[in-house]
Symmetry: C2
DNA sequence: TCTTGGGTGTTACTTGCGGTAACCGAAGTG
DNA sequence: CACTTCGGTTACCGCAAGTAACACCCAAGA
């Protein structure tokens, strides 16, 4: 370790440091996926574990900080797509495509965001049923719900309907995207079309198969 | 290899033993959720770790065996719902409700199935991008795809469409269910109705909100 | 009979990771 | 100069996965 010969006392404001550490963590996650170890991250940052803990408390803290960056970025992109000046169908397709493009571009980051490597918290009483997987999905769902509520006229009970739909659609995107990413059964554009068709009620509109089942 | 049943010796055929171990593991998972430790499971079964490893190879093996049981059970219930003699809308609602009832009844098991506690496998080369979360969701998606393909007339390209829809709908169910389970914003029946409405194209049918979108 | 051998099970270990305590050394300031 | 105060380190704890090596029991086989 060379003694950092800083010219004058350029005391990096610790926020800067934090950002550097996050960059390093990012690189490691990009390489190792969600099971990146604290040791590995520290090494990548050129330092040792305790510093990470000083900055982020625990692994969960670091992961949360890291996830927030990516989530914010993704959300910005999605908002741009969903708020574009176009017909609803087009906006929906653009949003789906934006999401899929993102997870396609950096699958490791995506995996990290979706499965934040179970915290292992002692959980005290034990009935912590509520705290599930990805905060990312929750945020996406809520945001989408807001958009739906604001822009679509759904009549009475619209708030609840919008929230259910927000989370449902996000879940659909996630589930289909996860499957598509691992099997690549078709192009992104095709996937987008199929999903949009689903949302457009083609399932309800289709008739039963010929030679219909007695039951 | 003698197929002789040794009557006298109550030598449990090791399949029996395996089943007992799985029962014990089940109890522990039901209590501790997905982060149940091998030690805990062994203790619950009244034995020690190495025996578990003899029977299941590694933790992943045990988890896979355990997951298969629950997955099979859930799939049976879902198949019954989806194959009921009723209109499509009714069948869809029944299927959604069956799934939600299952995750509502045993959330810990559900969490376990969805997040099988990341295997931590070294993964050799490192680019194992494909292997994501829950095999349960994959199986559900494929099964649903089959049902859709068999029973709904979708015209050309129907196979791919059915597969996308299968995984998409399962994702929707999962996402909405996960959120609903943790926030309980409404009754199960309401949730089912909302989701079915979504699948029935109400999003496409609804008009833009009054005071239209300037942007 | 003794011995062999495949089941059952055990204790005791290694490895690796999250997390922490305690110490180090180079500023900056009276 | 002493004295704090950072940015940093080494060395450790606890715990969980996984393994090695040993111990017991009971059915044969010569």
């Amino acid at each position: 370790m060379e003694t950092t010969q800083q010219a004058a006392g350029q005391q990096r404001p610790a926020d800067q440091r934090r950002r550097e550490l996050l960059e390093a963590a990012d690189r490691v996650v990009l390489r190792d996926g969600p099971q990146a170890s604290m040791n590995a991250i520290a090494a990548e940052a050129g330092i040792t574990k305790p510093i990470l803990y000083r900055h982020f408390g625990d692994k969960g803290g670091l992961y949360r900080a890291l996830a927030k960056r990516h989530t914010d970025a993704l959300l910005d992109a999605l908002r741009a797509a969903v708020d574009a000046p176009a017909e609803r169908r087009e906006r929906v397709e653009a949003t789906l495509d934006t999401y899929l493009a993102a997870i396609e571009a950096r699958p490791q980051v995506y995996r990290f965001l979706m499965h934040p490597a179970e915290d292992t918290q002692p959980s005290e009483a034990g009935f912590d049923v509520g705290r599930h997987s990805a905060p990312l999905l929750r945020r996406l769902g809520e945001e989408l719900a807001k958009v739906i509520y604001d822009r679509v006229d759904l009549g009475p009970g619209s708030e609840q309907l919008a929230r259910v739909w927000g989370h449902g659609i996000v879940g659909m995107m996630h589930g289909a995207g996860d499957w598509w990413l691992s099997e690549r059964p078709c192009s992104r554009a095709e996937l987008v079309r199929c999903l949009a068709d689903l949302l457009w009620g083609r399932l309800a509109a289709a008739s039963d198969r010929a030679g219909g089942p007695g039951f």
